[in-house]
């Protein structure tokens, strides 16, 4: 577009004079009257818009909230449903399944006592004192006796329901620890 040739000083002055003629391309007073009027109107609009900025932001937030209300409610219900289902029996771990399923279950099964038979707990009753009251009548003469309670699995799926079926017998009466078909884990005075 351009070459590197020099501009003659005389031509430069003349060109500057010529270009300054463009300064005379000016609008008349009527133009400026209209210009000021329009600018004032636009300025007021801009001012109003500036003042209502917070209001417009609030409206926008409200609009977004309204638009997303249905989606939020649906998601909430869905999440609640998932949570509820996850807590029900259907999705809970069945102890019987856990024994058979993975290596972790197998390990747990080996570490913890596995009751193939009905567990029992035995209450070691102290010998009845010689003091005789009106309410308590000694049945055996100072000999200790045991109260054997069998633990049976009930209808509750996870925990055991203890159904105490006291069976009393006297020590040395010939009944073995496993006479009730259960293995004794621990004995003590109180449970």
């Amino acid at each position: 577009m351009f070459s590197k040739r020099k501009i003659s000083p005389e031509n430069d002055v003349q060109l500057s004079q010529l270009l300054r003629m463009k300064r005379q391309e000016r609008p008349d007073d009527a133009f400026w009257g209209k210009f000021d009027e329009e600018l004032r109107s636009k300025q007021l609009s801009a001012l109003v818009r500036t003042q209502s900025w917070y209001e417009r932001t609030g409206k926008l937030a409200l609009l977004i909230a309204r638009k997303s209300a249905a989606a939020t409610a649906t998601l909430s219900i869905f999440a609640l449903g998932i949570f509820t289902i996850s807590k029900t029996e259907f999705f809970s771990m069945n102890p019987a399944d856990s024994v058979a399923s993975g290596p972790v279950s197998e390990m747990e099964a080996t570490e913890e006592p596995h009751f193939a038979e009905t567990p029992i707990f035995i209450v070691d009753r102290q010998p009845v004192s010689n003091e005789v009251t009106d309410l308590e009548i000694p049945k055996f003469d100072a000999a200790p006796y045991y109260e054997v309670n069998a633990l049976t699995k009930g209808a509750v799926p996870v925990s055991y329901q203890i159904i105490a079926e006291p069976k009393q017998f006297t020590a040395g009466s010939g009944v073995s620890d496993t006479s009730l078909g259960a293995k004794v884990i621990r004995t003590g005075i109180d449970f």
């Binding site: 577009m1 351009f2 070459s3 040739r5 501009i7 031509n11 430069d12 003349q14 060109l15 500057s16 004079q17 010529l18 270009l19 300054r20 003629m21 463009k22 300064r23 005379q24 391309e25 000016r26 609008p27 133009f31 400026w32 210009f35 000021d36 329009e38 600018l39 636009k42 300025q43 801009a46 001012l47 500036t50």
Partner: protein, 209 residues
């Protein structure tokens, strides 16, 4: 190079400009403090210069009017962010140029021109006098022809070169001020100015004797 590129802190060149910048800053601070009407003084002071720059860039009086108004609205809306790192005048011109360049980019496929009438003044009539000694009607015809040729040549320049020559020759800004406004070096301004003048000399050679 983008006009919107960051501009370094302005150092206002002449004492007159410095005084002008201080006056403007005082008005700007009033507007920033909430005196909205004080902005009218800035509009009144700069509307013709802003309009002139935009008009010479777009060559359309209606577009120039709208863009000048848009420039003042933008300045008004963002005046709270004006920190006085440059003069208000430099800041306002940057807004005007960016607004104009955005407009030119958007509308480059539909370009139609509408020019202002040339108001005859002493120095222009002197220039015409040098070219002809004929009657007033001949002078008027010559002036119209000259305006058309001049505007036509002006529109052949690229926007970058047109911007620089408008700010220098028509608006009368210094190289340094132009460099601050368009965000480039003084050397680049001089270079663009040189090539723009060279091109216009070629286009207007029959008037340059």
């Amino acid at each position: 190079m983008s006009i919107a590129k960051a501009i370094t802190k302005s150092l206002v060149s002449s004492p007159e400009r410095r005084l002008e910048a201080d006056e403007d800053l005082a008005i700007v601070q009033k507007v920033q403090a909430g005196d909205v009407d004080a902005f009218d003084a800035l509009i009144l002071k700069y509307r013709e210069r802003v309009y002139s720059v935009i008009y010479n860039l777009t060559s359309n009086r209606e577009d120039a009017s709208d863009l000048a108004q848009e420039t003042f609205i933008k300045a008004f809306q963002s005046i709270k962010r004006f920190k006085g790192k440059s003069s208000f005048f430099t800041w306002l011109y940057r807004i005007a140029l960016n607004t104009s360049l955005t407009h030119l980019r958007k509308n480059k496929l539909r370009r139609f021109f509408s020019f202002e009438k040339m108001v005859e003044e002493d120095h222009s009539s002197g220039f015409i006098e040098n070219m002809t000694t004929d009657s007033d009607s001949d002078k008027a015809a010559l002036m119209t022809e000259l305006q058309e040729t001049l505007n036509d040549a002006f529109q052949k320049l690229s926007v970058k070169h047109r911007t620089v020559i408008t700010l220098f020759e028509i608006d009368g800004l210094s190289h340094k001020e132009i460099a601050e406004i368009i965000g480039t070096s003084i050397g680049t301004v001089r270079s663009r100015l040189h090539y723009a003048k060279q091109f216009l000399q070629g286009e207007l050679k029959e008037y340059l004797k």
